[in-house]
Amino acid sequence: MGLLDIFRNRSQDPSAKMAKERLQILIAHERAQGQNRAPHYLPEMQKEILEVIRKYVHVEDDAVKFEVEHNEQFELFELNITLPEKGEAGDRPD
């Protein structure tokens, strides 16, 4: 290691930070897709939940977001539904 490297190391944007950020985004995405630690029943459950919601409101596929978060103590299953705005043809589809 040369003299210059020693000083450069200090000012460098540490690449490990980049690695961590990229990993966090990627892994959150893969988990949400049920590829990783998500339970195996997740895809089926998502489908059924969506069917139930559609009994009451009409929502597009992309208005529903599922996410699974892990933690040493528990697993958090998060479901976000963007409801159609009032007045839009989003009411119960009879």
Partner: protein, 271 residues
């Protein structure tokens, strides 16, 4: 009661076989009757790391296919009491391992009174790796502080949670441990390498230990002696700590800090 312990990772070359050899030896030295099984059919390596390669006669595939009895295939380690090795086949193809076949071998090992059955997983997340983890009670997920290894560990954790026998039968989940290997504290210090904290934050699995990047590992594999037997080396001691934690002891993490070096040390101390 026997415990089935899988050493797995997804990615290859991260230190699974090194870890399987060290942990199984450590458990045996702690008085637990232990067998370590090589699941890497076609690419066996564990026999070399354990130093028993010249005594391999039969392997796990022979046992499954009824060509040899379990006791003919088990190799007793000469230096470590209570320790046995069940090698993988070098010639047969991967499909020779079946779920029933492996289940039967594990049942027979339980009947032989083994306390620990350590399964050294092949790389990948396909059949071979899935068979190695299928019957596990506990899993050691080996991960390097490196982006692709961490990602593969997370995928492997997903497979443990969904595709294992315990998951399928709805039993309590496999107990997971994270083992970080090839850790280089000075490179973490300069911000080039993910830190223990980074990895724990991402993977959220209890930490079993941190094994430093160490020359002792290559020397041990050259000699065919599990590195944990070299009690004066950093890697050997780190593995001893990990085994103690596995057996319920609490020990502080070592080898995770850089030695503080002054300016001159920084100039001349490292390559």
């Amino acid at each position: 009661m026997s415990k089935v312990l899988v050493v797995t990772s997804g990615k290859g070359g991260v230190g699974k076989t090194t870890t399987s050899a060290a942990i199984s030896s450590g458990l045996a030295m702690a008085g637990k009757k232990t067998v370590v099984i090589d699941f890497d059919v076609g690419l066996r390596n564990l026999d070399l790391i354990m130093g028993v390669e010249r005594r391999v006669v039969y392997d796990i595939v022979n046992v499954i296919q009824g060509e040899a009895g379990l006791n003919q295939a088990l190799i007793r380690h000469k230096e470590v009491d209570n320790l046995y090795v069940l090698p993988a086949s070098q010639t047969k193809d991967k499909d020779a391992l079946t779920e029933e076949g492996v289940g039967k071998v594990l049942d027979d090992l339980r009947a032989e009174g083994f306390d620990y059955i350590v399964c050294d997983s092949p790389a990948g997340i396909e059949r071979g790796a899935q068979l190695a983890m299928y019957y596990a009670d506990e899993a050691i997920v080996v991960s390097n502080p490196e982006i692709s290894s961490v990602r593969d560990s997370d995928r492997m954790l997903g497979i443990l949670a969904s595709k294992s026998r315990r998951a399928k039968d709805g039993e309590t989940a496999i107990k997971e441990h994270l083992l970080i290997t090839r850790y280089a504290p000075d490179r973490v210090g300069t911000g080039e390498m993910l830190s223990v904290e980074d990895m724990l934050e991402i993977l959220a699995v209890p930490l079993l230990g941190v094994i430093p990047e160490s020359n002792a590992v290559l020397q041990a594999s050259n000699a065919g002696r599990p590195v944990i037997l070299d009690e004066n080396t950093d890697a050997g001691q780190a593995y001893q700590d990990a085994v103690a934690r596995l057996l319920g002891e609490e020990r502080p993490m070592r080898f995770i800090e850089t030695e503080k070096k002054g300016f001159l040390g920084r100039l001349f101390g490292r390559s």
